[in-house]
Structure formats: structure tokens, C-alpha cells
């Protein structure tokens, strides 16, 4: 989780990731940031994020993103 927050803060320093719950729906992060985020996550956690998982519900908060990573790690 810490590692994820680091990545997130590096990508979008203006956003408060600890509390924000509508990252995508509220347009706090755009699709380019999501792209960077995905490739960072894939590198850092050694997972593959399939395109079907890229939906707002999975990226709306740091917690949700973390859940996604955990789920993917399990699948592996």
C-alpha cells in the first residue's frame, strides 16, 4: 500500500489520495495518468492488468487500486 501511494503521489502530486474516493469519476486523474499508473504498477508489483479491469470502479480510490493489485497477485 505504501509503495502504491508513493507511485500515486509521484504521478499526481496535487491529489490527496488518502481521502479521495472519486479519482476517475471526478476527473482528478486523466486517462494518461492512468496509463502511467498502470505501467508503474505492472513494473513495481509484477502483475498484468488486463484491459477489462480498467474501469472507473477499480481506480476511484487508492484503496480500490490496492484491492485490484491484491486480486491480481492472487490470480498469479
Amino acid at each position: 500500500m505504501e509503495k502504491l501511494l508513493e507511485i500515486l503521489e509521484e504521478l499526481a502530486p496535487d491529489v490527496d489520495f488518502k481521502t479521495c474516493e472519486d479519482l476517475v469519476d471526478g476527473r482528478h486523474i486523466d486517462s494518461l495518468t492512468i496509463l502511467s499508473l498502470i505501467s508503474e504498477i505492472e513494473d513495481a508489483f509484477d502483475v498484468q492488468i488486463p484491459t477489462v479491469e480498467i474501469i472507473p470502479a477499480n481506480f476511484n480510490s487508492a484503496k480500490k487500486i490496492w484491492e485490484l493489485i491484491e486480486r491480481l497477485e492472487e490470480d498469479n
Binding site: L11, D30, L32, L35, S36, I38, S39, T51, V52, I55
Partner: protein, 528 residues
């Protein structure tokens, strides 16, 4: 039968509701299916065969993939952990073959009906340029109604089944109804199977409340279309067809009016469509979210024709940007130039694909490709210069969240959209450039009022349009603040509520632009 046909709204729809309510719950979805096919048949006659083929192909492909899943799971139980990965991989390949073949199969119809003529003309041009004597006859076919819309839905179904996002449907008629459902057939919204499959097959009785609620929305759509869009039609048509006769200022007004017309026509259609579905307690996704409050072009496209944008995002943008070749390229770039540049390249490639296809989707023609390219450039520029603008703003102490800056951005975005729509509506790409040239070289206020005096609108028309747009604006502001105007009306006393309805009805009846001297706007998106 257009959705704005009085026959549709006040004869067809009530008849369908009546029929739907008197039959047993179980066969209601089948009634919907039959009616949808009748609806399709009224437009396209025997071309109905193509939507049937598409439906069947995705149904069987879905079933096939599901069977492969079952087989795979069975095998997985029997083998050791080490072999599991290989088996998974093997079945994934099988499924991929089915997916690709079916997608290509469905695309081939779309290509045949919409793009064959365009591409043969390109091939002919090229062959004449390089002096090869081959000339193909250009064949134009009348396409089945809604083919651009239902093909995208078919593909979303296939891809979602492939990724196990949804389970392949067992019942054939359900897949058929998903593609053909009559409100969404002609102009969308482009739905996803997961979104509608609950409500569409439930067969709930149409209640009095839903019936009224649906009509409320339908009336709102009629208001936008008949009072505003149809009134602007003659003006827009004349300006765009004889653009060389008008000054730059009039052409600017024409482009703005066309954009308003397009918005009112398309979003009005969506109101009728969504209202129709609401009667059956089926909630369809919204296609518009106050697009003219957007602060940049990329936001505009998340508020305008939303379902199309989402389709491109989910099925083109992410798959392309996360595909292996793109990842490889960006991996290298990341090492050299850093994260930001690499994600820009990654997004840029995907964005180029999206906008190439988006342009093409709207029609086979250079102006549509240019339209796509124009918006691609604007969005990419926005991304590239974002840090520079942030830096400039802080340098000049401009509050980026401030009201005046926001209004500036909204106006800027709208102007960019107007320019895009000018090309979109122009009789061709060359004509579009000629119009822009005229705007730049022939812009003067002199004689403007004389010019627009003969464009079919007098002062009262402008007043009506102004007032009607004001009403739309107020409703939009409420919506933007997440206040539902419909709920507000619901809370009111019955007398007041009815007064609102009567006012709306009579506004349409009296101030609608129909009858002698007017020409209703033909459904614009039905041709795409």
C-alpha cells in the same frame, strides 16, 4: 419511422405498452423482440437478415467461448499446478481465434455497407496516380438501419465474454433483443450487455408512474428538437449549401447554429429514446452530460456522445495502449526520456487509433477523417502543453480554479467545438477549408443584418430560440449541480405540475417549427 414522428410517440409507443401489459410476464421480452424486428423492418425491409446474422454469430461465438471455458476448468482440475499455465494459455488462444474471426465477420458487413465505396474510390485514385490501369466500379449500398450502432454493441458483447467480464448468454432471443431493442436501434445509446440485461428481460408491468415519467422525458426531447433544432434548420441549410454567398460573420453564426442544432437534435432524440425505455422500467445510459460546460476538449468528449466515447476508451484506447508492441516502444522511451514522455507516446498512439476510427465511424469521407484528426490534435496538444499552462498560470498568478478562468476555458472549448462542427457539416473537406478561409478573409459587420434577414428567421424566431435555449440552460445548470429537475417537479402540487406539463405541450404545439415553411431536421446520427 423517426423517433420524432407523431406516429411513433403517440400511436406506436402506447400500442406497444398496451400489448406489453396484456400479455403474461414471461413472453413480454419476446413481444419486445418481435416489435423491435417490426420496427427494423419498417426501415430496412429485407436487410433485416443482416442484424439476424450478426445476432446469431455473436450468440454462437459466445456459446463457443463458454464451452471452451468449461472444458478448460475441467482439465485444470485434473492436472498439476505446473501444467495449469500452459492449459490456460492454450484455451486462451482458442478463444482468441473465435473472438477475432467473429469480430472480423461482423466488421465485414459494416465495411461492405459503409466503407466499400470510399475505399474503392481511394484505390482508383491511387491506381490512376501510379498509372496502373485498374478501375473498380464504385458500389454504394443502402445500409441496414443502425448498423454502426449495433455492430459496436455486438463487438462489446464478444470482447466482454472473451474476458469473462460477462457470462455468455444461453438464450438466443436475449442476444437478439440486446442488438435490436427498438429505442436504441437507430441512434444509440450504445449499451453494454451487463448494463441492460437485467432490466430488459425482466418484463415488469408498465406502471402508470413509469408511463407518465417516460412521456415527460419524451416531451422534453420534442421541445428541444421541434422548438430549437427545426427552427434553425433552414438557416443552417442555406448557409452551408451556398457558403460562398455569405460573409465570414454569417458563416460563424451558421457554425454556431449548426452546433446548437446538432446538440438539440441528438440529445433530444436521446431524451425520446431514454424516455421510451423508461416506460418499460429499463434505464439506458445517458449520452450527454451538459457538454458545453466542458473546460477542455477531452472533457467535452466525456460529456458528448458518452457511450461512443466509452466504447472507444474500453475497446480501442486501453487495449491499444497496453498492447505488447506499444508497451515495448514506450518501455524504451521511458528509459531515455522518462515517465511523462513515455505515457504521452503511449496515449498518443492509442489516441490516434481512437480518433482515426471515430472519424471513420461518423462516415466514409475525408471531412470525417479530418474531424477525427482535428480532435486528436486538440486533445494531444492539451496533454502536451498542460504543464506549460500550469506553469504560466502560476507565473501570472491566475487562479486555475477561479470563476473567470473557468469561464474563459469553457468559452475556448466551445469555440474549438464550433470549428470542428463546421467541418463536420460542410459539404466536403475542401468546402470546409474554403469556409474557414472566408471567415478569416471576409469577416465584416457591414450588411450582416441584411444577409441574415433572408435566412428564414425573423426577430420573433430569434426571441423564441433565445428563450428556449435559456430554459435548456437553466435545466443544464441544475443538472450540473446534481439537482434533478424531474424530482423537483415531482415534489410540486399536482396543479402546478400539470401547469408545467401544459406549458411544455403548448410551447411545442405553438412554437414548434413544423408545417408549411419549415423543414424538420432529418435524424442526423441515423446516417452514421
Amino acid at each position: 419511422m423517426s423517433y420524432f414522428n407523431k406516429l411513433y410517440a403517440f400511436l406506436f409507443l402506447p400500442a406497444v405498452v398496451f400489448l406489453y401489459n396484456i400479455v403474461p410476464k414471461k413472453i413480454r421480452p419476446i413481444i419486445l423482440l418481435i416489435i423491435s424486428y417490426i420496427f427494423f423492418f419498417m426501415y430496412s425491409k429485407k436487410l433485416v437478415i443482416f442484424i439476424i446474422i450478426s445476432s446469431l454469430s455473436i450468440y454462437w461465438a459466445g456459446r463457443g467461448m463458454r464451452k471452451l471455458n468449461d472444458k478448460r476448468d475441467e482439465k485444470l482440475k485434473q492436472v498439476e499446478k505446473e501444467e495449469k499455465k500452459a492449459i490456460k494459455e492454450k484455451y486462451r488462444t482458442y478463444k482468441k481465434v473465435i473472438l477475432i474471426l467473429t469480430v472480423l465477420f461482423n466488421f465485414s458487413f459494416l465495411f461492405f455497407f459503409k466503407y466499400l465505396g470510399f475505399f474503392t474510390s481511394i484505390v482508383n485514385k491511387i491506381s490512376s496516380l501510379i498509372n496502373v490501369s485498374c478501375h473498380f466500379k464504385i458500389v454504394e449500398h443502402v445500409a441496414p438501419i443502425g448498423i454502426s450502432f449495433y455492430t459496436l454493441q455486438a463487438i462489446s458483447y464478444l470482447v466482454d465474454v472473451y474476458h469473462d467480464k460477462i457470462e455468455a448468454e444461453k438464450k438466443m432471443f436475449k442476444v437478439m433483443l440486446y442488438l435490436t431493442f427498438f429505442p436504441t436501434l437507430v441512434e444509440g445509446p450504445i449499451t453494454r450487455y451487463a448494463e441492460v440485461n437485467q432490466s430488459i428481460y425482466e418484463g415488469k408491468t408498465v406502471t402508470y408512474d413509469h408511463f407518465c415519467y417516460g412521456y415527460q422525458r419524451i416531451l422534453w426531447g420534442f421541445f428541444k428538437k421541434m422548438v430549437i433544432a427545426d427552427r434553425l434548420n433552414v438557416f443552417v441549410k442555406t448557409v452551408f449549401s451556398c457558403y460562398m454567398d455569405y460573409s465570414g460573420l454569417t458563416l460563424c453564426v451558421g457554425a454556431v447554429f449548426y452546433t446548437i442544432l446538432l446538440y438539440m437534435e441528438f440529445s433530444g432524440t436521446m431524451d425520446v429514446v431514454i424516455g421510451s425505455a423508461e416506460m418499460f422500467d429499463i434505464s439506458l445510459p445517458e449520452n450527454f452530460r451538459q457538454p458545453f460546460f466542458s473546460k477542455n476538449i477531452s472533457e467535452f468528449w466525456s460529456r458528448w456522445h458518452i457511450t461512443l466515447g466509452l466504447w472507444f476508451k474500453d475497446y480501442i484506447f486501453y487495449p491499444v495502449s497496453l498492447s505488447k508492441p506499444v508497451k515495448k516502444i514506450t518501455g524504451v522511451i521511458k528509459k531515455i526520456a522518462g515517465m511523462r514522455v513515455s505515457s504521452l507516446v503511449m496515449g498518443g498512439i492509442a489516441l490516434a487509433c481512437v480518433w482515426f476510427l471515430n472519424g471513420l465511424w461518423h462516415g466514409a469521407g475525408w471531412k470525417y477523417l479530418f474531424f477525427g484528426f482535428y480532435h486528436f490534435t486538440l486533445i494531444l496538444m492539451g496533454d502536451i502543453f498542460e504543464p506549460a499552462i500550469v506553469w504560466l498560470c502560476s507565473k501570472f498568478h491566475i487562479n486555475r480554479q477561479g470563476k473567470s478562468y473557468t469561464i474563459f476555458r469553457i468559452i475556448k472549448t466551445s469555440i474549438l467545438v464550433f470549428i470542428g462542427e463546421l467541418f463536420f457539416r460542410a459539404p466536403g473537406l475542401a468546402a470546409g477549408f474554403k469556409m474557414v478561409k472566408r471567415i478569416l478573409t471576409n469577416f465584416h459587420f457591414y450588411g450582416f443584418f441584411d444577409e441574415i434577414a433572408f435566412l428564414g428567421m425573423d426577430i420573433t424566431d430569434y426571441i423564441i430560440i433565445g428563450l428556449a435555449l435559456l430554459v435548456v440552460l437553466v435545466v443544464s445548470i441544475y443538472r450540473e449541480k446534481k439537482i434533478s429537475v424531474r424530482d423537483k417537479i415531482k415534489e410540486k402540487l399536482i396543479a402546478l405540475r400539470w401547469c408545467i406539463y401544459y406549458a411544455l405541450i403548448f410551447t411545442i404545439l405553438i412554437f414548434g417549427a413544423y408545417g408549411t415553411g419549415y423543414e424538420p431536421v432529418a435524424p442526423i446520427y441515423a446516417d452514421f
